[in-house]
């Protein structure tokens, strides 16, 4: 678990600073007056359900989309009107990385190196890092989703960025790919790189990030350190299956710390922190109720995420 003390250089300006940033698409306000700062050394998580505005925010950060109001700066330089002036130390990708399918992975990296003004001297190195060296000669159209994702990371690392921006980097990867991608990001963050990553996996953000912003319908529902967020998390939703649900529900409703206890089909659902659950277990046993199943399908952080974003677990299962 990262700590907030991993931040290293503290330059005069934040690495990313958004002030009143707003973007509308017709009647839809995709990003609504966001104020946000990413400091040097942060591993900053941008969390939110689909459609919360994370990707639009990142597109504005990359200068791909112009804000309707407000400003976004990178290291004190406004991204607009000339993004390339501000983005010299920024690399990453928005949504799925895209490459020319009729060219090989290596050829794509060579073209991108030319667009960075370099000769592509780091291509072999970054291909090694993402373990694509043996498939570098294959055309990108033959790559799996995970390989394209890794090629996107390689293309980003080639720029030797100070800020790495990754939009849902583990999206679509298999469990092994997710593990490896998270390990890579963690290693890059440990090397001092500032990382801004969007995700709708609370556990991913919890595992890697030092600071987090939670977006909801274009606005920030939370912005602070992970420890602040954990402090607010408190109760997690629990599922309980017993030998006598009627008695168990009565016990739940009378046990201190157990809230929102309801019957849902063959189970009882309630919110509680760990101490309340310990107390409830004892009460159930003393009341002669056999516990068949007691578990927390979502963590306390995920429960908080659902609460902050007005979503339900079923709305966005991946968040769990």
């Amino acid at each position: 678990m990262p700590t907030e003390t991993t931040a290293r250089a503290r330059p005069e300006h934040p690495v990313v600073s958004a002030t009143g940033l707003t973007k509308r698409y017709g009647d839809l306000v995709a990003v609504d007056a966001i104020d946000l700062q990413v400091r040097a050394g942060d591993v900053y998580g941008l969390l939110g359900p689909n459609g919360a505005g994370k990707t639009t925010f990142m597109r504005m950060l990359f200068g791909l989309v112009r804000p309707d109001r407000g400003t976004i700066e990178v290291e004190g330089i406004p991204v607009q009107p000339v993004p390339v002036r501000a983005l010299g130390g920024v690399a990453g990708f928005v949504e799925t990385p895209r490459f020319y399918p009729y060219l090989s992975g290596r050829k794509n990296l060579e073209l991108l190196a030319k667009l960075d003004g370099g000769g592509g001297g780091r291509i072999n190195e970054v291909l090694d890092v993402v373990e694509l060296s043996d498939r570098a000669g294959s055309k990108v159209r033959e790559y799996s989703y995970g390989m394209v994702q890794r090629l996107g990371v390689a293309a980003s690392l080639m720029r030797e960025p100070r800020l790495l921006v990754l939009d849902e980097p583990t999206n679509g990867l298999d469990p092994a790919g997710i593990r490896d991608m998270r390990a890579l990001i963690q290693r890059l963050a440990d090397s001092g790189l500032t990382v801004l990553l969007s995700s709708h996996h609370m556990d991913e953000v919890d595992e890697m990030c030092t600071r987090v912003a939670i977006m909801r319908r274009g606005q920030l529902a939370f912005d602070g350190s992970m420890s602040e967020l954990r402090g607010r998390a408190g109760r997690a939703t629990r599922h309980l299956v017993t030998s006598d649900d009627a008695t168990a529900l009565t016990i739940c409703r009378t046990t201190p710390g157990i809230v929102h206890a309801e019957r849902e089909g063959a189970r009882i659902v309630f919110d509680a922190d760990d101490r309340a659950v310990e107390r409830l277990s004892r009460e159930l046993v003393e009341g002669g109720v056999g516990i068949r199943l007691l578990h927390a399908p979502t963590s306390a952080l995920t429960t908080l995420f659902f609460r902050l974003t007005d979503t339900e677990a079923g709305d966005d299962e991946e968040a769990a």
Partner: protein
């Protein structure tokens, strides 16, 4: 992913990226590299270069000549007639088609592949991306057009021979002067071809659709061609891109005259500037929301 592969800490090393920002030249090189790697472009280039050889060989193996086509009656008389007949035919529809084929998806292909977000997040400014792509499309178009002309001239000289040439006015022209006439005639169609390429580039940017980028300029060319067949207002006819591609005929007349060519150059320049300016403004200001 490799846990053993090392990567230098990037924090202190990245500033050089901002110091030597690449410009139009880098994009031009990248786009040309992409063009020559596309099977479509290779096939078109090969077919276009081979076509004059097939044409003249077929003409030589038949009794009839395309008498209705300017210089058609001289195809078996002098090799210099071959590139001129090819030019007469190509100027009607083939050259606009070539311009559209190469330029019509220069911008929209990145929309289709979703790669704008890839190239616009590197170290090149949007303006450089625009001009690099434009220059690559125009230079590739020019190379293909000139390659057809050179191939047609070579086919005529090899298959028929370098006999004296006959000008539009009926005067005999020496092989040396004929070579110059052929070269100037082919070069004089380039502004019109560039005008069609600029139209294709503009449509490619506006519609973000590769098919429309190719089809619209060709349809425009055909409509203009149909109008030119009519004996309608000359003023309108002279303002059409197709007109600029037949203006070379005045140079080969006896006595020669240059007014249509000069006017044609002006018309083609106006079309090119307007289409490129419109494309530039749209490309610079567009949001990249897709991909």
């Amino acid at each position: 992913m490799s846990s053993t592969a090392s990567l230098d800490t990037p924090t202190a090393t990245a500033s050089h990226l901002t110091q030597r920002r690449p410009g139009v030249g880098a994009v031009y090189g990248v786009e040309l590299g992409k063009l020559v790697r596309q099977t479509k472009v290779r096939v078109i280039g090969l077919v276009m270069v081979a076509a004059p050889w097939v044409f003249i060989l077929l003409v030589l193996h038949q009794d009839r000549l395309p008498l209705e086509t300017l210089y058609g009656r001289y195809l078996k008389t002098t090799g210099f007639a071959t590139p001129m007949v090819v030019l007469v035919v190509a100027a009607q529809w083939l050259l606009p088609l070539i311009a559209s084929f190469i330029s019509g998806d220069m911008f929209s292909s990145d929309d289709n592949h979703g790669t704008y977000k890839t190239i616009l997040t590197r170290s090149v400014a949007r303006g450089s991306v625009f001009w690099g792509k434009v220059l690559a499309a125009l230079s590739a178009t020019i190379v293909v057009v000139l390659a057809i002309g050179a191939s047609a001239l070579l086919a005529g000289l090899v298959c028929v021979g370098g006999q004296d040439f006959i000008s539009v006015g009926g005067t005999l022209v020496s092989p040396g002067a004929a070579f110059a006439d052929v070269a100037v005639s082919w070069l004089s169609v380039l502004p019109g071809v560039i005008g069609f390429a600029a139209l294709a580039l503009c449509v490619s940017i506006l519609t973000r659709n590769s098919v429309l980028g190719v089809v619209v300029p060709v349809v425009v060319g055909l409509v203009c061609q149909m109008y030119m067949f009519l004996n309608a207002w000359d003023t309108v006819r002279h303002l059409m891109l197709n007109w600029t591609m037949i203006a070379w005929r005045g140079l080969l007349d006896d006595p020669s005259y240059t007014a249509p060519l000069v006017r044609g150059l002006g018309v083609a320049a106006v079309y090119t500037v307007v289409f490129l300016a419109l494309g530039y403004l749209v490309f610079r200001s567009r949001d990249v929301k897709e991909g």
